[in-house]
């Protein structure tokens, strides 16, 4: 049974497809899998019978479901690994720097990566990240601290000028 209008569904896709995709990327590290997961997540939203109080509520739900879907995929025996981003060629310089930074970020541990992404890109608070990921706030704080430290080490190692 469908509980959302087409118009509303399109609006939500427009607002959050990027968020879902990028969140999935933090977990699975490749675009094809992230894209598949994104569509799965929107399918779940489409058939979800609950009501959302606000767009923020919807976003939190989407991120949470994305995280769970990614974890399931990573546990799956059939997890595929396609086209690592570091093998992409012939891309514009601007995008080359973005991809380079992304590849460094992708070298972080999954929890570090996810927590840092939610904090710095999505602007989530420690409390919000804890609720979205199911971690305790203490664990989130710890992951943020370690993630920042590790990221700095990686960037310096790669010769990235601060």
């Amino acid at each position: 049974m469908i509980y959302i209008t087409e118009q509303e569904f399109k609006r939500i896709i427009g607002l959050f497809s990027g968020t879902v995709f990028r969140t999935a990327m933090c977990y699975v590290k490749n675009k094809s899998d992230a894209d598949d997961i994104m569509q799965d997540v929107f399918l779940k939203l489409y058939t979800y019978g609950g009501k959302f109080e606000s767009d923020n509520h919807t976003k939190a739900w989407l991120i949470r479901v994305t995280a769970n879907s990614c974890k399931n995929l990573l546990k799956s025996h059939w997890h595929r690994f396609r086209l690592p981003i570091e093998k992409a060629e012939n891309i514009p310089a601007e995008q080359a720097e973005s991809d380079y930074l992304l590849s460094v970020i992708m070298k972080l541990g999954q929890k570090n990566r996810t927590v840092l992404y939610m904090h710095y890109y999505e602007g989530c608070s420690v409390k919000e990240i804890a609720e979205l990921t199911g971690m305790t706030e203490t664990a989130v704080t710890s992951q943020l601290y370690r993630g920042r430290k590790r990221l700095k080490q990686l960037l310096l190692k790669e010769g990235y000028d601060e």
């Binding site: 497809s17 990027g18 094809s32 489409y46 609950g50 546990k75 840092l116």
Partner: protein, 624 residues
């Protein structure tokens, strides 16, 4: 670049491979395919009685049970937190709910030094029980003061001053096994407080179980103060237990508390009552030796028909889990802090799954399902006769007809006069039926609705293929005669002619037995031998019923002589607690070798699906 700039730069160019329009198209097409391919199987609609599912026989709470105790008032006192004790989402408060169906009063009083405890009663469904008690404190120094300590799912209340109450529960039937209860500390208003002790049921339910509630009372300010009380309660009461019970058999992923890892499971069952809710999951491999290994908080709630979503995470304590190692399943029960009215649930959500809930209400018997519409109209001077339809089983037929008075005719009731009556003879063409008068069913302004009936009685014959004749004589009303010796029933009457004859062929589907139960139950029948009444053991072999008639088949174990006679007191018992006794004069009895067949016609058509049991000479045999 700072970290924020790094992440912005890294992720801003990261866009989905699929554009939004295609996402929409793919998702809606997949949803359509899913809808057509696989339905979440709903095993039973909302109206199923959990009592039947758990093997509990239904019985009403005895009259007077509520005397002196206001159920709704008691529960609202406990659960209507004003925010001073527990912080809860105030967006929802349970609507006034009738707990009487789930409640057994106890009214035990214990008097201690400085206070009195009154155990008021216990509320119970198939999943949980909640004992309710009242504390009246005489010694002001015992009035408790609380400190709230936060934990992951809410607040603990610690007594910092005054009376501290601790309760434990023992299941007496299960080798005195301990049950860890949920203690809801008393909420005080002045010197009177109301508290509850909640427990969840074991896998085999609570029905018939005896629980011992053991209370310990201490004074935080006086280490030497100690009192105790024990109350044994047997769950032998049952009201009808309404429950939403679904068997989705759907895939679900929950996160294990033990290691934070996802577990791919099958959601086997969802069960919701006004007092509690649970899900049962498993994956064929799961087995938790430790009762406290559960799953992290997951979406679980209901959407009402008005769109309101009730998130169970806000209104209940998750209470460990119940392990069924044989079936490799675990049930995750939670007891609501509030009673929830579940009569308007539109869907249930667990994790990412939403399941619609169908509400089926018992419907009045549809006569025309086993008959046909006739729609015959006959006009008379002051009224119209409308023969609407006929419905029948093998031996008995009911015909429905209306008398519609003309508006300019004075048909209105008169004081001292009877209702309008329709005089008709309804029989088969062979004139071998048993006839009843035309009975008035209802009056709606100028429309009077009647039914008439004809039955072949106890016979191997059938109405199928026969012709039923209806000879209408007159429509009349009158002033009943005062003396029963009067030849004329009415001292005065108003008669309208209705002289027509109608033939109705029985050429439609006849109603088969709705109840057709094979049995082998020992019963007793009244036995008369040479005029002396005794009792004889027999075996009830079958009970069958249509909306119009019934038959009971009994093995007596002996052949009959002329002087022998069995008869039976027969009562049909309905789900709503009412009963229909069949007078002996209305029973047909046929002795066949060493067996007897009793049959008869219901006084008026009934819905056989409402029959739950039959009582024969004091022995009640369940039929469901």
């Amino acid at each position: 670049m700072n970290n924020k700039e790094i992440f912005n730069k890294a992720f801003s160019c990261l866009t989905p491979l699929t554009d939004n329009e295609t996402i929409f198209k793919n998702v809606t097409e997949r949803a359509e395919k899913m809808n057509n391919k696989r339905k979440i199987s709903i095993k039973k609609p909302v109206s199923v009685l959990l009592a039947a599912a758990l093997g509990i026989t239904a019985a009403t709470v005895t009259a007077g049970a509520a005397a002196g105790w206001d159920f709704n008032g008691a529960f609202s006192k406990i659960f209507d937190n004003t925010g001073s004790f527990n912080e809860r989402d105030d967006s929802f408060r349970a609507e006034p709910f009738d707990f009487e169906k789930y409640y057994k009063p106890i009214d035990s009083t214990y008097t201690f030094e400085g206070f009195t405890m009154n155990i008021k009663g216990i509320a119970c469904d198939g999943i949980a029980a909640r004992l309710i008690y009242e504390i009246i404190i005489d010694d002001p120094s015992l009035i408790p003061e609380y400190q709230l300590d936060e934990y992951e799912n809410g607040y603990y209340s610690n007594v910092t001053k005054g009376l501290s109450i601790f309760a434990s529960v023992i299941r007496k039937n299960d080798d005195n096994s301990f049950v860890t209860p949920i203690n809801t500390s008393p909420v005080f208003n002045g010197n009177t407080g109301v508290g509850t002790i909640g427990i969840t049921a074991p896998m085999d339910g609570l029905a018939g179980k005896t629980l011992e509630f053991y209370f310990m009372f201490e004074d935080v300010g006086n280490p030497n103060y100690f009192e105790k009380a024990t109350e044994e309660v047997t769950i032998d009461f049952v009201g009808e237990t309404e429950c939403i019970r679904l068997s989705p058999e759907a895939d679900i992923t929950l996160t294990r508390c033990s290691d934070g890892e996802p577990a791919d499971l099958t959601l086997h069952e969802i069960c919701i009552s006004p007092l509690s809710a649970s899900i049962t999951v498993g994956n064929g491999e799961i087995y938790y030796p430790n009762r406290h290994h559960g799953f992290e908080k997951h979406e679980f709630g209901i959407t009402l028909s008005d769109g309101t979503y009730i998130d169970f995470n806000s209104y209940s304590h998750i209470y460990g889990l119940m392990v069924n190692p044989d079936e490799k399943r675990v049930s995750l029960p939670r007891i609501f802090d509030y009673g929830i009215d579940i009569s308007n649930v539109a869907s249930v959500t667990v994790g990412d799954i939403t399941i619609p809930v169908e509400h089926s209400k018992p419907e009045a018997f549809d006569f025309q399902k086993y008959g046909k519409e006739l729609d015959l109209h006959y006009n008379f001077e002051n009224y119209q006769l409308h023969i609407k339809g006929i419905s029948a089983d093998r031996t008995t037929a009911y015909i429905l007809y209306d008398v519609i008075f003309n508006e300019n005719f004075d048909y209105a009731p008169r004081e001292g006069w009877s209702d309008w009556e329709l005089r008709a003879i309804i029989d088969t063409k062979e004139k071998d039926g048993t006839r009843t008068p035309c009975n008035l069913i209802s009056v709606n302004q100028n429309r009077y609705s009647f039914y008439g009936m004809v039955s072949l009685g106890h016979t191997e014959s059938t109405l199928e293929g026969r012709i039923i004749t209806m000879d209408f004589g007159s429509l009349y009303r009158g002033i009943p005669s005062k003396s029963q010796k009067d030849d004329n029933y009415y001292s005065n009457s108003e008669i309208l002619e209705c002289d027509i004859a109608v033939e109705i062929p029985v050429d439609f589907l006849l109603c088969e037995n709705v109840i057709d139960k094979e049995l082998s139950e020992k019963i007793s029948l009244n036995y008369y031998e040479n005029g002396t009444k005794t009792s004889k053991q027999c075996v009830l072999k079958s009970v069958s019923a249509t909306p119009f008639s019934w038959e009971i088949y009994v093995e007596t174990g002996r052949s009959f002589g002329k002087a022998d006679c069995y008869d039976a007191d027969i009562t049909f018992n309905f789900a709503d607690g009412t009963a229909l006794n069949v007078p002996r004069n209305d029973q047909h009895i046929k002795h066949i070798g060493k067996s007897s067949a009793y049959n008869g016609i219901f006084e008026e058509p009934i819905n056989p699906e409402d029959i739950v049991s039959v009582t024969i000479c004091g022995t009640t045999v369940p039929l469901k």
